[in-house]
Amino acid sequence: MQLNTKHFGVVEVNEKDIIDFPEGIPGFEYIKRFVILGKNEDGNPFHWLQGVDDPDIALVIIDPRTFKPDYVVDVPDEEVEILDIKDTEKVLVFSVVVVPEDLSKMTANLSAPILINIENSRGKQVIMDNEDYPIKYYFMEELRKVGGN
């Protein structure tokens, strides 16, 4: 299907790449379907989470383990029941990135990771109660260290 996006013009989206977010995400509860764009760009850890139901909405996301290898998602089973996870290896983990004018001050939301079960293409943003994982985590220095920049 074709998606007329604000950021990227018309993009061709394969129906099977659409991820269902039955609850939307906080702030955008009405967007029930997203796609990930820019997944195949040579090792670039940044991707776009593009709204399908609202093509004007696109968020930058990054797997937090790129710069924080020991990052773990720990939430009650009930919180992720909707994802019907059988194999945790099949779950993608992303942090939502806020991109200010000064790119060195980008922050990732470690407190509320987006989980995507690739086995059933279902996603949800979960909220963790962990003081070590702030909502605004400055990661650029760490990303540079692992050779991302």
């Binding site: 702030g27 955008f28 670039n44 940044f46 776009w48 806020v98 991109v99 790119l103």
Partner: protein, 73 residues
């Protein structure tokens, strides 16, 4: 909104299976215990609102290439 006055150790029941207990009161802080079925998710309101705000902020990103973000543009 229903407002009830409770003392330390007292509780209220919501529906059939949610119980909210006033565990402790210290000055202007109240410690609340919640007994609820596991399928009822409980978040501190300000944290949920903070995540909403953060997502909205993230959506204000200007159009740019992912290469630019990565510094390899």
């Amino acid at each position: 909104m229903l407002a009830l006055t409770r003392k330390k150790g007292q509780s209220i029941i919501i529906g059939e299976n949610v119980e909210v207990t006033i565990v402790d009161i210290q000055g202007d802080q109240v410690k609340i215990g919640i007994d609820a079925p596991k399928n009822i998710l409980i978040h501190r309101k300000e944290i949920f609102e903070e995540i909403q705000r953060e997502n909205k902020k993230a959506a204000e990103v200007r159009v740019m290439s992912l290469k630019e973000l990565w510094g390899k543009g």
